[in-house]
């Protein structure tokens, strides 16, 4: 990758992390001294401050400026200190290592381009050595140099160095991190920081400064898709300016742009900028990193939180998504907890729907669990109160990461992992315009009167093999024999006709269900008791099917029935041999195995096929319908 001159002149931000007392601040103080970056008088001042406390010279006092930090010999919060090497300017960010201050470490590290992780070679790899390594990875910091500090305490022994080095390298490999260098250092003595230590002639790698000089600034995301989260709309004068920062891509005057999730399209009329220079001509385009304002050709109503993109490459829209979260809260996080999601400039209530794999606090072992303890990293599923516009973190960092807060407190951060859930944009967008409904001359009520019962939708949902189709067709027969106009919509039947053009990826599954929901609503309006038999794994899809059925005045509405059987049971039954194939990897995205199933929160009825026979299940349903579809 080519870096422009301007880009190269930008200070590189380096965060220094690692376990408490392993020598981070000492390293920072010593590095600043060795490159000649300490201002005049600083050494004398530190000397005096140490003397007045009756202690030997402490390099850490260069950054540990607070009284509490000096009195207790511990860093509490991050310092940012600029310096210059012969190659380029830097900002060093000295982070605290104590567990208590992980949130401060995250604050410092999130602002960095690269990191130095310090390990006391005499003490070895400790809890925060591992945790900080993992957090750097999650924060997207890929350039990491490892300093094995306090080599003087092990008499510069290459064998002991190698043991700690190998152990940590193996840990990093297990989380997918490759360090740029692993350097034996004695920070207090300045060994291998700027100058090579003669006592460690066995070490062939770079000094710390040489390793830093080899790092590159993070590239701006100019080549990615346009994302411009709206910060505000201003009307200070006759202009109506939409303001925000271009997080990725480029925007030009004349571009057709879409606001998500409000799904409004218009064109860029102008890019606005203020300048005191007479005759200033505002720019025609802007790119990633710039704070801009635009005016649009149409006076559309947009608001803070909307994300501007081009029509050809829009963000994902969903109200449920997977994420990897680091939890900073003091109380453990459990499923069901409500918080505020902040992503881009959007903010909205969310609930933690599911907790998956947890990387534990202490030893960072992995486990399945239901409680995320402080500073754990975990996989979760979040459900938002409305549609969010976002991206997978790997596709677009700025719109793919978020924080969770409660009241004023930021309690965690995470990165979005798409997959498993469909894009809901198509399902929530009506493409046709100028639609006028034709009014029927036969009313829903007249039809119900003739039939002797109301129309409506009985929506069966459950895992493959739970018994939906078996129950549905038997139920249809029983209802028919009782004089009820009943009709079954079943998965495979619909997929060979109406939905023959759809596959099994998340988007197609969602569209499949959307069409079934609409078709069921039409049948219901025609007076039928419609029984649908689809896995329909996503809550949001079922909610839309419900909304379609509820639009019909005078009908019996929508009745969600959870056909319940555990995954183990279904897999044992495996009537179509599908689980076996899915386990063998022959079917991708199979519900329950490699794709999620979201059980209903509050179904109208639960039919537990593990305890009821098929006949009992049908009887239960026929009874329920008799009571609820009465005219």
């Amino acid at each position: 990758m080519r870096i422009s001159e301007a880009e190269a002149a930008r200070p590189l931000r380096i965060v220094v992390v690692g376990h408490v007392d392993h020598g981070k601040s000492t390293l920072v103080g010593r590095l600043l001294h060795d490159v000649g970056a300490l201002p005049d008088g600083k050494m004398r001042q530190v000397e005096a401050n140490c003397k007045s406390r009756g202690m030997p010279f402490e390099w850490a006092f260069v950054t540990d400026a607070l009284q509490i930090e000096r009195d207790q010999g511990i860093t509490v919060d991050v310092s940012h200190i600029p310096f210059k090497s012969s190659k380029r300017p830097y900002v060093l960010i000295d982070a605290p290592g104590h567990r208590e201050f992980v949130k401060n470490m995250v604050t410092g590290a999130a602002a960095a381009d690269a990191a130095v992780l310090v390990i006391d070679v005499a003490e070895g790899v400790r809890e925060q050595s591992r945790r900080h390594g993992l957090l750097l990875h999650l924060l997207g910091i890929e350039q990491v140099a490892i300093v094995l500090n306090k080599m003087d305490l092990i008499a510069n022994d290459p064998a002991r160095f190698e043991a700690v080095r190998a152990e940590y390298e193996q840990y990093l490999a297990s989380i997918g991190v490759r360090p740029a260098a692993m350097i034996p250092v004695a920070a207090r003595e300045g060994a291998n920081i700027v100058t090579r230590a003669a006592a460690m002639s066995w070490y062939q790698g770079p000094t710390l400064l040489a390793a830093l000089d080899a790092f590159a600034p993070k590239a701006r995301a100019v080549e990615r898709a346009l994302r411009l989260p709206v910060q505000d709309i201003y009307k200070f004068d006759q202009r109506r300016i939409v303001a925000g920062k271009v997080e990725s891509g480029r925007i030009k005057v004349g571009d057709t742009i879409v606001f998500s999730p409000s799904n409004k399209t218009t064109r860029v009329r102008s890019i606005e900028q203020w300048s005191a220079v007479p005759g200033f001509v505002p720019p025609q385009s802007a790119e990633a990193g710039q704070s801009v304002g635009i005016t649009t050709e149409d006076e559309i109503v947009v608001e803070r939180g909307d994300v501007i993109s081009h029509a050809g490459d829009m963000p994902f829209e969903t109200d449920v998504f997977r994420a990897r979260l680091f939890w900073l809260g003091r109380e453990p996080l459990e499923a069901g907890r409500r918080m505020t999601l902040r992503i881009g400039t959007q903010a909205m209530p969310v609930v933690v729907q599911e907790i998956g794999r947890i990387v534990g606090s202490g030893d960072l072992s992995e486990r399945a669990g239901t409680r995320i303890e402080s500073f754990d990293v975990a996989e979760i599923v979040l459900r938002a109160s409305r549609i969010v516009a976002l991206d997978g973190y790997s596709a677009n960092a700025a719109t793919g990461r978020f924080v969770l807060s409660d009241g004023a407190d930021v309690l965690g951060g995470g990165v979005v992992e798409l997959g498993g859930y469909p894009d809901q944009r198509a399902a929530t967008t009506r493409k046709g315009e100028n639609l006028v409904r034709v009014e029927h001359r036969v009313s829903v009520t007249q039809r119900a009167q003739r039939n002797g019962h109301k129309g409506g939708v009985v929506w069966l949902t459950g895992l493959s093999g739970a018994g939906k189709s078996t129950i549905a067709v038997a139920l249809e027969q029983v209802l028919f024999s009782r004089g009820i106009q009943a009709y079954v919509l079943d998965g495979d039947n619909i997929r060979t006709g109406l939905n023959a053009n759809l596959g099994f990826g998340p988007d197609d599954r969602a569209e499949n269900i959307r069409r079934v929901g609409e078709a069921a609503a039409l049948f219901a309006e025609a007076g039928f008791v419609v029984v649908t038999a689809f896995i329909s794994p996503y809550r949001s899809d079922r909610a839309r099917a419900r909304a379609a059925a509820m639009r019909i005045d005078g009908a019996a509405g929508f009745h969600e029935v959870f056909v319940k059987a555990g995954l183990e049971t279904c897999e044992r039954r495996d009537p179509k041999g599908l689980y076996r194939k899915a386990r063998a990897g022959q079917i991708a995205e199979f519900t329950g195995i490699s794709a999620p199933y979201e059980a209903p929160d509050l179904p109208e009825l639960v039919v537990d096929t593990e305890t009821l026979s098929a006949d009992q299940s049908v009887e239960l349903l026929a009874d329920y319908i008799g009571r609820n579809f009465k005219f």
Binding site: K42, T63, D77, H80, T107, D237, R239, W274, V410
Partner: protein, 264 residues
């Protein structure tokens, strides 16, 4: 984008976040080089408008050139200027060393103007590279009813998500210049042709590098008489910026005590 473009864009983003989340806001204008840059950036953020007042917390002890500059620029830029007086030194904490005690009048004046106008956001032009406790600041720094800086438990701040919730009865300090360095400020002044008080330029071999009250600020030796010369001087100097601010050097903890109490 060069470094100045990047810093400018970041500061504009901070102003807009503050304006979207907090109301009412007041911006501290000390008339020094940093706060002139800050006012300039705010006008960029809001497309030539300044949708909140600027506050000069006035000790009455500024240099005459400062008052002259303030009144002229406020007029030319149509600033909504609040000149807020400070209480007398006798009313200050007598345990503070004398120069810090003088500086603490500013804290008291600030608290008064915040209370009088009900400000919930205060924009201040401090930078991390000026002073080692400022190096630990957040961009959005919540202050309780007493304006105290709780450095023991500052809120997490990452990925552009700031602590914009105003504490009960308190306010939030907003620091749009936090990641600028002294030399960035001068390069930006040069690029944008932002006016500054003439005291920054050398006269008789001395100039002010940092402007404070006339009783506690002294000039430093320098021959830099133009912006270009100041930039050249800063590229090589090892003298710290606040060498001429006597309050910084009285005791190890005097600046920290001031800041904990609500000083900028």
């Amino acid at each position: 984008m060069d470094e100045l473009d990047r810093l400018e864009s970041e500061s504009i983003g901070i102003f807009r976040e503050a304006f979207a989340a907090i109301h009412p806001i007041g911006m501290l204008w000390s008339i020094g080089k940093d706060s002139n840059v800050m006012v300039w950036l705010a006008r960029k953020a809001f497309f030539g408008h300044l949708p909140f007042p600027v506050i000069h917390v006035d000790t009455g002890l500024e240099f005459p050139e400062v008052y002259e500059f303030r009144d002229r620029v406020a007029r030319e830029w149509s600033l909504n200027l609040i000149a807020a007086p400070c209480p007398p030194i006798e009313a200050m904490d007598q345990s503070l060393p004398p120069n810090a005690r003088s500086a603490s009048r500013k804290t008291a004046g600030l608290k008064q103007v915040v209370a009088d106008h009900g400000f919930r956001g205060i924009v201040a032009g401090i930078r991390r590279d000026e002073q080692s406790t400022r190096a630990k600041e957040r961009v959005f720094s919540p202050r309780g009813a007493e304006s105290k800086w709780d450095f023991r438990s500052q809120p997490p701040e990452f990925w552009g998500h700031f602590a914009t919730t105003v504490p009960e009865g308190g306010h939030v300090r907003i620091h749009p210049l936090l990641s600028w360095s002294e030399i960035d400020i001068w390069r930006y002044i040069q690029r944008e042709q932002i006016p500054v008080v003439p005291l920054y330029f050398s006269r008789n071999g001395m100039r002010f590098r940092s402007l404070g009250e006339s009783d506690i600020t002294v000039p430093v030796p320098s021959n830099a008489a133009t912006i270009a010369e100041i930039i050249a001087e800063l590229e090589t100097t090892r003298v710290p910026e606040r060498a001429g601010r006597t309050m910084d050097h009285e005791a190890e903890d005097s600046f920290e005590r001031l800041r904990v109490d609500g000083y900028m």
